[in-house]
Symmetry: C2
DNA sequence: TCACGAAATGTGAACGGTCACAATCGCTGT
DNA sequence: ACAGCGATTGTGACCGTTCACATTTCGTGA
């Protein structure tokens, strides 16, 4: 009884309409849950949709609505646990909200690469951008290209007008620092993240603030690149002086590298050197010794991120989303009182 | 001299046409590099495009061309290093080929979740799908939904009709196993990956093949879940028997967990137990001791994956892309001759 | 000088949805 | 029985691009 359709072309809203004996607009209304559709009509349309395996064409929808329902993620080092977790959480949250996510990776952090990545995102008419990358540079490029898409970062920038979540990374860093001080350490070194990552800066600031508050003298942190390799080499370098009893690393990978260097030098953790990381990657409890670190709730971060971004797109007050996410110190075997 | 444009709306191809004094179709031809456009005309159009900051509307393009230029990635455990690296590489390669990538994460591996993720991808009219997930189940769902989009996996399935790359994971696993056998180990245990991951199965098969070829008796592998936690618990369990001198783990994270368990038991690596991993994650050289493992070229994997998928979409012969990627054994400190 | 074919450009109709507005239906109260 | 009104449905245009086809322009040889 059902009429045949032209083959070779996906069924359209009008095909559905014809078979259901209604107008195409009625089908559209069913698809969009318009309130005033008679139940019987709705049922009939839905049945035809099912029969035909009909799926609305996203391009057509985006075109006529003038909205892409897509958000972009600008990511650097997307293979690392922290960023990757955030991205996964962002995708999940976006999907739940009916949005699509498109990721552009930075191949390097120079302006050209950032421009290319942003360009790629803009070509898809993304409605918003999440920046998980050296934010400072990205902002510069964003401004320079005078791109007017709302964007969001995972960490407050301190700029007057920023749309950012407030994971209290400063607080997390202070927790870590305070833990070391409470154990009795006075000569504490900080291995920070790359210069133009806001997260790195926040953690460094937390470290310096806590050291200042507790009246412990500090030396200038080294700026790393988040990798275990860097941690290892920085550790070797530092150990030539050995004028510290504890190191606070800006992430767990670098902490792992430092541990490697410390063992290479024939020293014991935590007896000779205590080490604290940041992130609590799933491997951290299995390091040797298990790593004391600061746990971030990446999934919550991703969800909040999307909430904020979609809120911003909808024109909500960003302050609505400002409730900070409080990180948590996880104490394991890599920290202890100094031996001397 | 330049005319003003209606504000509040992005410039369209017709706006460009009007300002350049040509027809909209000519602009379209310039955008698509049509051969028969006079150079002077082309230059004029390009200049207006530049002036207006014009960007073609992707939705309109997709609609009229009937192609989305988007490929989907179906991913599980996307926060882990291996999958995350592949995904990043896939994105880069796709971008280079002018494609967009959309990722859907599986929240769990049950049929419902897989269906939801595939649905999300299909809604965007993806032209192809890359599966980085428990492939067996995904295939079942794909068939059940009678989805006719080409798909690709990172590892050959052995099915008659599969479109898959051929990283020779079997070879990689044999390398690892052979290394242990050559060192003198005879009681070797294998900690495999989850049952329905093809990679896991291939590595397991490689292990069993090599053991068989060298006439070394084997016991049944344990199936793990890729996490360090699982490795730790499996390690504890295994050590209660302690009827082995070496373990080959299906990935580096599980190997890390095993190392933790071995140390907990007061044993030495590699003297009492040798351990080999798989993947060579960036942290592996900094484990204690540094992990012997099998390196995979994830970036190349991603590139090939896109080449194969786009080739399939274009109707090329899949065999064209079959040249295998050969993994490499990286020997570090976690393996040595058995002590007894 | 003019016909002729290729190169260059223009014209109008898709593509598959949504939007604004118009029309019809069905119930209520008088 | 009928006006009035909200609920329900229909009509045609439009979003910005590409496609198929028509038209104009240009260079060339007879």
């Amino acid at each position: 009884m059902t009429a045949e359709l032209p083959t070779g072309r996906a069924p359209s809203i009008r095909d559905v309409a014809r078979l259901a004996g209604v107008s195409h607009q009625t089908v559209s209304r069913v698809l969009n849950n318009h309130p005033s559709i008679r139940d019987s009509t709705k049922a009939r349309v839905l049945q035809v949709i099912e029969e035909l395996q009909y799926r609305p064409n996203r391009a057509a929808r985006a075109l006529s609505r003038g909205r892409s329902r897509t958000i972009g993620v600008l990511s650097a080092s997307g293979a690392q646990y922290g960023p990757a977790s955030s991205i996964a959480a962002i995708q999940d949250a976006a999907r739940e909200a009916g949005y699509y996510v498109n990721t552009a990776n930075l191949t390097s952090v120079d302006t050209v690469s950032i421009e290319a990545a942003l360009d790629h995102l803009m070509y898809q008419s993304v409605e918003g951008i999440v920046v998980i990358a050296p934010q400072v540079r990205v902002f510069d490029v964003l401004e320079q290209l005078s791109i007017e898409v709302p964007y969001v970062t995972l960490q407050s920038t301190g700029r007057p007008n920023d749309h950012a979540l407030s994971v209290d990374q400063i607080h997390g860093a202070r927790l870590a620092t305070r833990h070391l001080i409470d154990l009795g350490h006075r000569r504490i070194f900080h291995l920070a993240g790359p210069q133009d990552w806001i997260e790195a800066e926040a953690r460094m600031r937390g470290f310096l603030e806590e050291m200042g508050a507790m009246d412990v003298p500090t030396t200038a942190p080294i700026l790393g690149d988040w990798t275990a390799d860097f941690g290892y080499h920085a550790g070797r370098e530092l150990l030539r002086q050995r004028d510290f009893t504890a190191i606070f690393s800006s992430n767990d990978q670098m902490a792992l590298g430092i541990m490697h260097a410390v063992r290479d030098a024939g020293l014991d953790i935590p007896r000779d050197v205590s080490i604290v990381g940041f992130d609590d990657i799933p491997e951290a409890p299995h390091f040797w010794p298990p790593l004391t670190t600061v746990r971030q709730d990446f999934a919550e971060l991703g969800r909040r991120c999307i909430a904020l971004l979609l809120g911003t797109i909808a024109g909500d007050d960003p302050d609505k989303f400002r409730a900070p996410i409080i990180p948590e110190l996880i104490v394991r075997g890599s920290t202890g009182p100094p031996a001397f």
